[in-house]
């Protein structure tokens, strides 16, 4: 599991590579904790190379989303693979998260505000 970040104006783009499973959950928790505590609350999670997530991982994402929204920020998702998009639809989480087809669209949603 690899998590890399880059800054785009006032938005932090976070790219996930690998699988969010029980073995890698701690890494994700640790890295997202840093983001939640960091100064930039406008986050884009690029899931282009995230190949797997289970219900436990979804719970973790919701936890991050709630904390960030409480701090007047948001987590927007982009580049979901078809299987992941399917998961978000099944669980209706596509209505909870703002999901964009690509990173640029997601970043622009923050800038336009």
């Amino acid at each position: 599991m690899e998590i890399t970040t880059k800054d785009c104006n006032d938005v932090k783009v976070v790219s996930f590579k690998g699988r969010i499973v029980y073995d890698t959950e701690e890494i994700v928790k640790r890295e997202t904790e840093k983001l939640v505590k960091g100064p930039v609350k406008n986050l884009v999670f690029n899931f282009g190379e995230l190949t797997y997530i289970n219900s436990s991982g979804l719970g973790l994402l919701i936890n991050v989303l709630k904390q960030v929204r409480a701090a007047k920020g948001d987590v927007k998702l982009s580049n979901l693979r078809p299987e992941l998009m399917e998961l978000f639809k099944i669980t209706s989480l596509n209505s909870v998260f703002d999901i964009s087809p690509d990173e640029e669209t997601a970043v622009n949603k923050f800038i336009k505000k």
């Binding site: 499973v21 029980y22 073995d23 797997y52 289970n54 219900s55 436990s56 979804l58 719970g59 973790l60 919701i62 936890n63 989303l65 709630k66 299987e83 399917e86 998961l87 099944i90 669980t91 209706s92 989480l93 209505s95 909870v96």
Partner: protein, 159 residues
């Protein structure tokens, strides 16, 4: 057409550390069997689905969620308790049974999460979307998940 069947039974202590390992191994073992049969019956389109990825993401997820439920909810993460997984596969269907040593749960009245943004409670919802049938035993400490091959009833064959 070659008729076939295969089964496997395994037992392990209720530790979350085993979930990823066991679900990966089981999916790859099922896939090996399915591909073997597929390559032998390559001219017989009715035997197996052409899509070898049928046991991909969704199957991995279903086993993952069932094991998580058994370990965390059933056995309360007590490593002295065991989780048993078995599967049976033939040309028509794949059955996976996961059993724990817990007291079970009221599966007849169980409803997946109340709130769309709840942080837990999606496991069975996900299993139900990928598998064709889910059957619980009476106390509710055993789940049987069935996937029909080739003529899947669900719309999400590729999932």
């Amino acid at each position: 057409m070659i008729l076939f069947e295969n089964q496997l039974y395994l037992e392990f202590p209720a530790k979350r550390d085993y979930i990823d390992f066991v679900s990966n191994k089981v999916v790859s073992s099922i896939n090996t069997i399915a591909q073997e049969v597929h390559s032998q019956n390559i001219t017989d389109e009715l035997t197996m689905s052409q899509d070898l990825n049928i046991f991909g993401f969704g199957m991995n997820l279903s086993i993952d969620e069932a094991l998580k439920n058994a370990i965390v909810h059933g056995n309360k993460s007590d490593p002295r308790k065991k989780v048993a997984l078995s599967y049976y596969i033939n040309s028509e269907k794949l059955e996976i049974i996961v059993r724990d040593e817990g007291i079970g749960f009221d599966h007849k009245n169980y409803k997946s999460l109340a709130e769309v943004d709840a942080e837990a409670g999606r496991g069975l919802l996900l299993i139900g979307n990928f598998m064709d049938e889910i059957i619980f035993n009476d106390p509710g400490n055993e789940i049987k998940m069935i996937k029909y091959l080739g003529k899947s009833k669900t719309a999400r064959e590729d999932f």
